[in-house]
Amino acid sequence: MRATTWALPALALLLAWTAQAEISSQTYDLPSGAGPHDVAPAPDGTVWYTAQRGGALGRLDPATGKVEQVALGRGSAPHGVVVGPDGAAWVTDSGLNAIVRVDPQTLAVRTFPLPEARGYVNLNTAAFDGKGMLWFTGQNGIYGSLDPKTGAMHVYDAPRGRGPYGIAATPDGTVFYASLAGSHIARIDPQSGQATVIEPPTQRQGARRVWADSKGHVWVSEWNSGNVSRYDPKSGAWKAWKLPGDGPQAYAVYVDDQDIVWLSDFGANALVRFDPATETFKVLPAERARVNVRQILGRPGEVWTPESGTNKLTVYRTR
């Protein structure tokens, strides 16, 4: 009996060590002045990134470390990038006030400007829904859709004005966005275009980004409260957990292929892994000062982080 009591914690420690040992990281330098904001790993093994300071879209080949950057136009300041069903990179360019498509083969740039009557909307992030429609957010108080096939664009006033920030689709194709200034998340009806506000349990939490797990739960990084929270669209239930440390500020959130939740914490200058099964956090302190990771995205076995503060991309390999 005593041996069993000893053996169980030892086994748990071994498993934890094994799990941690499986994670390795590799960092890539980017061209001077790039200023990466978001990343989008592509199915072909390359990784797109927005060079926000440099007004370009970059593409890294992790196998060789080779980087190429495509200038997006005068005044460009790209914020978000996602890979579309067509394999292209789709960029939300706050400088150009336009959605930009970059062809993966030719690197040709096609620009879809926001309607002039809308003025400057401060474009933020985009996501594709289950039918291939691109949905995007603008922090000055809008969200919208772009049909990649026809170029038709619709822009809607956000329910509570300024704030729409991160956006993501659940596995069934439903799109949710987070409102940073508005401290809520919203679900978009793809037919009507209407956004329905969903209130997190913590007041003034500063919902910055959203991501979905394999079960369709929506995970939210809360900038003001330092929480990560989970919304179940089926039951409407919420649950929130405070990140470790004295003053966490959760900026980015991403859920990997094992349903582990990854967050960036500006307060601790760290990446934070959260295991929903055990409700436990694992802090991965940054190896450099002020990395300022503003977004996280991955593909099976890899989690990518753009370090806006150090001009680097880092990949965490989980197996």
Binding site: R53, S94, G119, R162, L180, A181, R290, R294, S308, G309
Partner: protein
């Protein structure tokens, strides 16, 4: 228009405060307000920011980088705002504010004039 002229024009326009929805403030609007009552936005309130020491607004949680800049004596003037808005990361490395800044001098000076009038 230089930032000095922007401040002069703003002073002449006093006391008429401009709406934060004005194009001059459009790139700041998502995170900032010049309405002193609006203090729950992601960025610090910018009411009467000209002449204020960096990271000195009570109740706002600034980044360590911005707090350090304030402790080193950074004060928001037309000149320092012009440099910061052109490239925030260059002036305050590690700032939480997004890195693109305001690309053209015209945009920056319009934003500074807006701040000076509010």
């Amino acid at each position: 228009m230089s930032w000095r002229l922007a401040l002069l024009l703003a002073a002449l326009a006093w006391p008429a405060a401009a709406d934060d929805r004005a194009p001059a403030f459009a790139r700041c609007y998502a995170c900032h307000s010049t309405d002193p009552a609006q203090v729950d936005l992601p960025g610090p309130n910018l009411h009467k920011v000209i002449g204020r020491r960096a990271a000195s607004l009570p109740g706002f949680r600034y980044s360590p980088a911005m707090r350090a800049a304030g402790e080193r004596g950074l004060v928001w003037t037309g000149e320092t705002l012009d440099r910061y808005l052109a490239d925030p990361e260059a002036v305050v490395p590690g700032t939480s504010m997004g890195p693109p800044g305001l690309g053209t001098a015209t945009e920056r000076h319009a934003a500074i004039a807006h701040l000076a009038g509010n």
